[in-house]
Amino acid sequence: METTALVEVQSLYKRYTPNGLYAVADVSFEIHTGELFSLLGPNGAGKTTTISVISTLLQPTSGAVRVAGHDVQRNPMAVRNVIGVVPQELALYDDLTAHENLRFWGEMRGLHGAELAQEIAEKLELMELADRAKERVSTFSGGMKRRLNLAVGLLGRPKLLMLDEPTVAIDPQSRRYILDWVKKLREQGVTILYTTHYMEEAQELSDRIGIIDHGKLIALGTFDELIQLVGQHETLRLRLLQEGGGAELAAALQSLEGDRIAGIIEASATNGEVLINVTSAEATLAAVIGTATGLGLSVRTIDIREPNLEAVFLRLTGRALRD
């Protein structure tokens, strides 16, 4: 992999109103040519704002952002010429056919003639939409629309492809298709900035991952580097019979941390689950169940997970990624 920085983000700050909160604060990172870089964070963490600034849609409040050496504020048109963006929303015209959509967006990227025709054919083939090319998008399923949305982002063979949560609200089959497709692009050497709040996706796809929360980049590195932040810890995931009992159990475990039950690093409750970051699941499981029972709570299911980004996020923020 080349180490040239295609994207340089330095001390990026962005707020939408003069005295409002910062949506992004002091974010700095680089994306190297040919790299797949993921921004992982919960909804509202600042992922889309960061992509919007890099893609010239928003102006930074302060800081510097360069893409392929072009400053996004001083030379936005040069930046737009080298990027492709796949927005979170399906940015398509429902009353046009798939072919017409690709033609329109291709023209907007400055393509025309034989070059455009060839690109359209390629993208339709790539997205397995060739047989539906002449049909209006309004007749497409959600997964097909999502694939067409991706194809539009690829028009003009951009140097940098930005994918903003491309797997939100789609069926598992389409999700798998998109993830495989992103991997293929990665293998072809396309530089990709991928945002997601699914840690599995970031884990599976990325060369490097930036974890963002409340507008701040709280961790940055390869998967292994991030795991090192929490050590080789496991995560216990408990579901209780009693709704609302999770918070009580998490608080109890948290207060016992490093005391009666050795090995509990972090505990939090979310969406009816209790997540417990532990040094060894085997060593702590009995004590955890005992604590729950002592509180009058009954455990319905227990799940033990290997060290993952969820645990990293939990360790860094004290909250689960999906909070």
Partner: protein, 457 residues
């Protein structure tokens, strides 16, 4: 430029693929034109009309011209009109007064009106001194008078043949700005002609009876009496006797100051087209907000295309859609008989009008916050603008202050200019209106630009 064209074409394509929008753009205005035609096309109007200033120029030396002018002063007309009889030599001045909109219309009765519509009567009076119109069925005629009547009849036979092919023309020279009034004047003249019709039919009957009596008394030869009797069967040039229908060789021609009369179909065809053009362009303006909402606008903004190109492309698409809509409506209504005016003038007006209308769409789009808000504001502006400017009621019947107020809407300028084109008015009277519409367009686009700068920032 290429991107601008692609954007504009895409806008038009999307608009014309929307069946609901198509119904609104094309089918509804056509249907409403026909409905309005059916409702108001006969000239009925709820606006009270009285004391319509009308000039009467009677050049006829016979009695029928007098009958026709008398009806304007009769009690049956009441205070509907305020007629003024004028002298022959002042025709040019009278036409000028109509041109200046001082009076609604000038009615011109030609010099030989009586002689041509009833040549027998005129000739009989000349030869015998008998006013056949005053002849009673039991009047005693001398043999000389009977011979004179017979001769007059024979001569009138030839003249009446000519009259059939060369109708006498009663002209109503009307101002296009007094459209309803002109229709009222026309109705009164028609009523007068009907009265003449009945009088001539009655006279014809009386003469026929005289002829029959002469024949029975052996006071004339059979050929002459038969010929005169035949007059009662409708061969005397004045039509059929029997009192009911007499086919007078009269042609009533209504001309406007520029030579073309008012047409309800033409008026409503263009005014409805303008109204629904406003619906289409205000809805088109909403698409910019809709694009923002569905994410295609941000995608456009991060393509290597300038914001100005995007804006111009969007507006170009709205104008293109509007022009196509107007052209289709122009063509369709022309097929059912509407006249819009000189094609070149209509085309220029359509382009400028659609551009002006699009400025309202842009203004709404620039300042509204959501597509729903833009849609509601657009509909309200279109309907109020339509009512103010004469889409539902004839513009010239609205109070003067409403007519002035309506000039804030493109509808008013469009209807005014298209009406002038329909009336065949000279370019010099239309160009200032086109200029005014262009200024309104610039003003609204300037306001919209301020809003767009705020949005795109």
């Amino acid at each position: 430029m290429r991107k601008l064209t692609v954007l504009a074409f895409k806008e038009a394509l999307v608009a014309f693929r929307d069946r609901g929008a198509l119904a609104m753009m094309l089918v509804t205005p056509l249907a409403l034109t026909l409905i309005m035609m059916a409702a108001f096309g006969s000239g009925s109007n709820s606006t009270p009309i009285s004391d319509i200033p009308v000039l009467l120029l009677n050049r006829d030396t016979g009695t029928f011209g007098q009958v026709l002018t008398d009806i304007f002063f009769s009690s049956s007309v009441g205070n509907l009109v305020a007629p003024t009889l004028i002298e022959d030599e002042s025709e040019a001045a009278a036409r000028a007064r109509v041109d200046a909109d001082e009076v609604a219309a000038l009615v011109i009765i030609p010099q030989d009106f009586s002689a041509r519509i009833f040549p027998f009567g005129a000739r009989a009076q000349a030869l015998t001194g008998v006013d056949v119109m005053a002849l009673s069925s039991d009047a005693a005629l001398t043999p000389e008078q009977q011979a004179g009547l017979a001769q007059a009849f024979m001569e009138s036979q030839t003249r009446s043949e000519e009259a059939r092919t060369d109708s006498v023309i009663v002209e109503i020279y009307a101002s296009p700005n007094w459209r309803i009034s002109a229709l009222v004047v026309k109705a009164i003249v028609s009523q007068g002609l009907e009265r003449l019709n009945i009088q001539i039919a009655g006279t014809t009957n009386i003469v026929a009876r005289q002829a029959t009596a002469m024949l029975q008394a052996g006071q004339t030869d059979v050929d002459m009496a038969s010929a005169m009797s035949a007059m009662s069967a409708g061969n005397a040039g004045q039509g059929t006797a029997g009192g009911a229908g007499v086919d007078l060789p009269i042609k009533l021609v209504t001309t406007s100051t520029t030579g073309r009369g008012f047409s309800w179909l033409g008026y409503y065809a263009s005014s409805m087209a303008v109204l629904f053009l406003m619906f289409a362009v205000t809805s088109g303006g909403r698409t910019l907000l809709a694009e923002r909402q569905r994410g295609t606008l941000p995608r456009l903004l991060i393509s290597p295309t300038s914001a100005l190109t995007i804006l111009l492309g969007k507006m170009g698409g709205i104008v293109l859609t509007g022009v196509l809509q107007m052209l289709i409506l122009w063509g369709a209504t022309t097929l059912i008989g509407a006249y819009w005016g000189h094609p070149g003038g209509v085309l220029l007006t359509i382009v400028l009008l659609v551009t002006c209308a699009s400025s309202v769409g842009a203004l709404i789009s620039a300042w509204a916050r959501t597509p729903g808000q833009a849609s509601a504001i657009g509909s309200a502006i279109t309907l109020i603008g339509g009512a103010l400017s004469g889409s539902f009621f004839v513009r010239w019947n609205l109070p003067q202050w409403v007519q002035y107020l309506s000039l804030v809407t493109p509808n008013a300028w469009g209807i005014e200019i298209l009406s002038r084109l329909q009336a065949g008015r000279a370019a010099t009277t239309i160009l200032p209106w086109l200029g005014g519409m262009v200024l309104l367009t610039i003003f609204y686009y300037a306001l919209a630009l301020v809003g767009f700068r705020r949005q795109f920032k």
